[in-house]
């Protein structure tokens, strides 16, 4: 007999005969039933008593995973890793996440359904199957319907199975054997295909790269250069008086540039320090003091800075009783408007920096006149 028997095949004239035979043979323990038809036949799954496919469960799990992954990813990006307020909404706005969650759910489900069905459950690409050696195969893709009973062990009786199929109404029967050793060419073919694909990707990538690199002025690469936009110092037809920018509305206050209406230190004394006296504020005050004030007033605010010697100037010793009694607002006024030979430092420091310097200055004054109770 030669090669091992794979299955016994019975060919039927039409789908009804096939369904009839399948329900007759199913459950009689003749062997594993399998059907080969040129098109899907309704009711065949029930007649062959096929198990429920696990695909639905796989899709459910992966779809849920997609929803969760999309939510977590967006939450992490928007609320944690790169928080930017968009449209005045809270950083973690679930409403904005829903469309992406929906799309990723669909994507994961569709890919799972397709890849799972094709590769996991149908085991494609199957380049070889014993049934392909059957002489009935051409007919089965056209107008014949076949039922096969696959051998499941040594005690498979091909002749009895043929008889059973013939009894069930098969027009002809055939014993399908495993063909002699399948050709091992498939691996080479797959490697060749993969290599060709990889080569095509590299060629396409390099071609794209060099096209953009060599011809940046050709469309579509040049489209970025041709945007409707207004150059600096140009007139426009949009605003009154051909102005290029909208005139600033009356009473506009720029962020961090509060108007300063005070003229004398006495007037400014009404201002209080808005910053809390914390370690961070004092550290910031020291940093800005050392950058801006130290060169004249000295590191201890005692008026002995490096510039004093060079120019013979005499900046105030800020540790004295007089300056200790100076209100915060008056010190602020000195920074804003200058005092005696000292120029204004309003432009060099932001509002918060000025107030943190005043906190630091108070600490220096206290250190110069420390009491026992100040020790920790």
């Amino acid at each position: 007999m030669g090669e091992r028997v794979f299955a016994v095949l019975g060919v039927f004239a039409g789908p009804d005969a096939l369904l009839d035979a399948a329900s007759k043979l199913e459950g009689r323990g003749v062997g594993k039933l399998e059907a080969y038809t040129p098109y899907p036949v309704h009711g065949l799954g029930e007649a062959l008593a096929l198990r429920r496919s696990p695909l639905a469960g796989m899709v459910m799990v992966m779809g849920t995973l997609g929803t969760a992954a999309a939510f977590l990813f967006q939450w992490w990006m928007n609320a944690y890793d790169y928080p930017i307020v968009v449209g005045g909404k809270p950083l973690a706005s679930w409403q904005a996440f829903v469309p992406i969650m929906f799309e990723v759910t669909v994507l994961f489900s569709a890919f799972t359904a397709w890849l799972g069905a094709v590769f996991l459950l149908c085991r494609l690409p199957g380049l070889w199957h014993p049934m392909l050696s059957s002489s009935s195969m051409p007919k089965l893709t056209r107008d014949r319907f076949a039922l096969s009973i696959e051998s499941q062990g040594r005690d498979f009786d091909a002749e009895a199975t043929r008889e059973a199929l013939r009894d069930a109404g098969a027009l002809e029967t055939e014993v399908v054997r495993f063909p002699p050793a399948p050709k091992p060419a498939s691996l080479t073919l797959l490697l060749g295909l993969a290599g060709a694909g990889a080569l095509a990707c590299v060629v396409a990538g390099l071609a794209t790269y060099w096209t953009i690199k060599v011809f940046p002025t050709l469309p579509p690469m040049s489209r970025m250069l041709q945007q409707p936009r207004l150059g600096a110092q140009r007139s426009s037809s949009v605003f009154a008086g051909s102005a290029g920018f909208a005139p600033v509305a009356e009473g506009t206050v720029a962020r961090g540039r509060l108007p300063y209406p005070f003229k004398t230190p006495e007037e400014a004394a009404v201002l209080g320090n808005p910053l809390p006296r914390t370690k961070a504020v004092l550290a910031e005050g020291k940093r800005r003091f050392d950058t801006v004030c130290r060169v004249c007033h000295g590191p201890l605010a005692d008026g002995k800075g490096t510039l004093t010697k060079a120019y013979g100037a005499s900046p105030a010793d800020l540790r004295t009783r007089r300056y200790q009694a100076f209100p915060d607002g008056s010190v602020y006024h000195a920074i804003m408007s200058g005092k005696n030979a000292m120029p204004s430092f309003a432009k060099a420091l932001t509002e918060d920096e000025r107030w943190s310097i005043i906190h630091y200055l108070r600490a220096l004054q206290r250190a110069a006149d420390a009491k026992d109770s100040d020790l920790p």
Binding site: G43, M60, G87, Q95, A96, V98, P99
Partner: protein, 373 residues
């Protein structure tokens, strides 16, 4: 008999609530009118869809759908009765409207004569279409004239156009204009989703209960599966539309739009909104997601009942906050529900006594009965 007694009890309760709190009575009347119209119009849409696409699977269920569609008659009458409530329900019917020049542009659409004309036109078109489609089907049973079948098929495209226009007009007139300054282009589609869902649910419930009585024996798992599949699909469709409308308004945050959602998301209605999402989407979705559940009569029946309840809750959610009513279910709501549910059941039961349970005159009935998934 019990239904008649319940209807009378409901009518008495409704009359009482009309005297005590007319605004609440008319709100309930409007919600239940839209309920009847939804179930009837959704079923008639299913019928015309079959004629339009030449579907075979729904032929054994078509007579049931035609019978449920007869709810359009009490629904249309209730809608005409609701015209009496215009001065109570609609801000645009109050003297002194519009205070706001932006709303003045809507006076051409929102005025009592034109509104009444539109409602009457909708009612006439619905009843007329039902007469043509359901009456023609009964006529076909008697005469077995294939030309009549062709005429039904040729009428269906016109009905689809009428359906689309009247559902949109109903949504804009009876729901949107409760807050005349608010507008949403997609509200017609939103109401369509609810209309088709309640039509499908009503047909499923009717089919399952007829099957229980031993009628409609030809309707099998395969036919019910398609009803369940449609139900599943349109549960998702409704959620998609509802969320799309919400998200766009939430993102844009325009004062003339967002107040409508603030009324519904903040305060007592916030919990109702979450509950609506649960019963209108989450529960039906997971109840119908598996293959076996879509065609299982018991599962299909309780999910259909839940979807009908959800559509009622959805209509309350649309109507009540615009009138400043709290999310409460008390005796005025119960009385209106009792009246309309018993009248609707009586009506459908009367319809099921006429003619065959299957459209025996349909030339493709055999194919429909033999339908397999």
């Amino acid at each position: 008999m019990t239904l008649r007694v319940l209807a009378i009890v409901g009518a008495l309760g409704c009359a009482d609530s009309l005297i005590i709190d007319p605004a609440r009575f008319w709100a309930n009347w409007l919600v239940w009118t839209l309920m009847l119209v939804s179930a009837g119009l959704g079923s008639l849409f299913l019928v015309s869809l079959e004629h339009l696409t030449g579907a075979r699977w729904s032929i054994p269920l078509r007579r049931t759908a035609e019978r449920v569609a007869s709810l359009l008659i009490p629904g249309s009458l209730a809608m005409l009765a609701a015209l009496i409530g215009i001065p109570v329900l609609f801000p645009w019917a109050q003297p002194g409207w519009p205070e706001d020049p932006l709303q003045a542009g809507k006076t051409a659409w929102l005025n009592v004569p034109f509104f009444t004309a539109r409602a009457a036109a909708c009612a006439a078109l619905w009843i007329g279409s039902w007469k043509v489609l359901a009456g023609g089907s009964l006529e076909l049973d008697r005469t077995r004239d294939p030309r009549l079948h062709l005429r039904l098929q040729r009428f269906s495209p016109f009905f689809i156009a009428v359906f689309a226009l009247t559902v949109t007009v109903t949504a804009f007139d009876w729901v949107s204009s409760l807050s005349p300054e608010w507008y949403s282009d997609v509200l017609g589609v939103y109401l369509f989703a609810g209309v088709f869902l309640s039509g499908l649910s009503a047909v499923s419930l009717a089919a399952v209960s007829l099957k229980k009585e031993g009628r409609l024996q030809g309707v099998r798992f395969d036919h019910l599966y398609n009803l369940g599949g449609f139900l599943f699909a349109f549960v998702v469709f409704w959620s998609y539309i509802a969320f799309a409308q919400y998200m766009l308004m939430w993102y844009a945050h325009m004062p003339e739009e967002i107040f409508w959602y603030k009324d519904r998301v903040e305060g007592a209605w916030g919990a109702a909104t979450l509950g609506l999402a649960l019963v209108h989407f989450v529960i039906p979705f997971f109840a119908l997601v598996t293959r076996g559940s879509k065609g299982d009569p018991r599962r299909l029946a309780w999910v259909s009942g839940l979807v009908l309840v959800s559509h009622y809750a959805d209509l309350c959610w649309l109507v009540f906050p615009s009138l400043g009513l709290a999310p409460r279910f008390s005796w005025p709501e119960a009385a209106a529900g009792l009246l309309f549910v018993s009248v609707g059941l009586l009506w459908v039961r009367r319809a099921t006594a006429q003619g065959d349970d299957l459209p025996v005159g349909d030339p493709a009935l055999e194919e429909g009965l033999a339908f397999r998934l």
